[in-house]
Amino acid sequence: MNITNGLYIKKFLRRLIPSLFTLLGISLVSFMLMHLAPGDPASMMLDPKLSLQDKALLKHNLGLDQPLWTQYGHWLGHVLRGQWGYSYVSGKPVLRAIAERLPATMILSVSSLTLILMLTLPLGLWSGYRKDTGFDKTVTLLSFVGMAMPTFWLGLVLMLIFSLKLDWLPTSGFLEPGLETSSFWEQSVAIAQHLILPLMTILIGSLAGLTRYYRFETIGILTQDYIQAARARGLSETRILFKHALKNAMLPMVTLLGLMLPELVSGTFVIEYIFSWPGMGQLGISAVFARDYPVLMGMLMMSSVLIIVGNWLSDVAYRWVDPRIS
């Protein structure tokens, strides 16, 4: 038991140490690029009418007048001690600024990802099984139409139909101002109502990709000998498709899910912007416009950590679902 534990720790460290170097590299490159890009926070923050002296003073106070290397060292030193700095715009601690935006993004991303997976797998499997039939052609056509419609346009059209014409759903936002103190149940219902339109917009645009992917996988799998062999054993078509083909078609999903992990928290700018959804996408884009370096670095580092963790998790999970990899 101790030996296996030791082995796991050794494996874990072997994975962890290079990852730390990767993170260090990412932070260095992004820090430098960010500061070398034109524009500076001081001019974004201040009234243009203020004097150059005031601007220089602000820059000095933020430490932006020091050499880049010193600034980076300063940032890194603080981060290693768990201090991520304060937003230039709101003055909030970076971690709190992110934590405030995370729930809205997660509600949208987790629900959309869950629905995408639940819809694309059966659609793709069945399209592949019924290749070139009316069902398959309809799914293909509709999913491509969905993919071809630009998100911003589709979002506005849905808003026009369901909010303005039919008046079924709210146009945008997350929670009405009056509801902050109401019960959890009332808040959930309100958020759910606001969620439907952005969720539909995401779904319509992203069903095509995975459906086509599963269709293609299924077509390939159904020509395999083990499917013929299963049929030769008299197994039912349902069992062949939803047991023997399904598990094989699902294997690559593990990798895809790992790659999608960072997307779950980074949010989508276009959707969040159109529907005034107070998520990470909005935070990120406003931080870019304001040259809010501490917030940007915080978000970047969070995504990087999640990319690395996602990769690692998908490796572990792959080993768990595919017996051929040990």
Partner: protein, 324 residues
Amino acid sequence: MSLKVENLSVSFSSGGHTVTAVDHISFEIPDKTIVGLVGESGSGKSVTAMSVMQLLPPQAVLSGSILWKGQNIMGLSNTQLRSIRGSEMGLIFQNPLAALNPVFSVGNQMIETIVLHQNVSTARARDIAIELLQKVQIPDAALRLDHYPHQFSLGMCQRLMIAITLSMRPKLLIADEPTASLDVTVQAQILTLLNDLKEELDMSILLISHDLGVIAQNCDEMLVMYLGKLIEKGKPSELFKHPMHPYTQALIAAIPSPFSKRSEVTHVLKGDIPSPLHLPSGCRFHPRCPKAFALCSEKEPRLEPVCGREVACFLATEATSNSR
């Protein structure tokens, strides 16, 4: 008579071309016999096997009839065929590793089959599976049941396939090149196993092979195919002694003998098997036939009875009609 195939034709159309892989063949497999089907790659052996099980892809066009115990199973749906597949006819493949689903344990696949066909509980099915693995001589059967296909050697995988097929107690076993991917020693073990099981279960076997030695040792009857046509059929002992069709003669002459010198091996057929897209006129074998004459390229010889067997060659039928 368990299986009777009459005028079976199979063609595939792709890109505007139609390729006829099997052309009007008829044969029978009586109870408790082993029938061998030989021919080069591309002669239509596997397509024949797959059409008997109705397992060809949907783009295959079949005609003729396949009678199983008097019932024509041609064109039945997958659902209708479920009562025949497995419990009446079993199939083992050339590549046993590919025939097992890589992501389920061997036990899982065996138990699923046993539960379906023997109507027993999962726990009982597991015991039956262990017994079957012991029967096909897989050591540590109880332990091996939880292993995955890739953890077995090819020979072991073929034993597993045989064990799974046997759990369904089929009356006809279709073995499509069951030993082609195996070592010679393993090959002999598998064939012995099949022969023993045939006796025990009173099965018939359709044994497909390109290896004439395998056919000669194991079969009661042998069918020779060339480019989708049956060209000779009869008892292996007679066919080996006096092959009548020049193609059968060439096949037998091409068997390497450990006693012949390299320079003596001259019986090699000219050229390759022609593309089924451009079939030769007349007898399909005439462009490669050392004994071809004018008539061969004009008229197609029919499979006709000659001295207790059937041959599709003008030379064979002529020789017998002259002698009468």
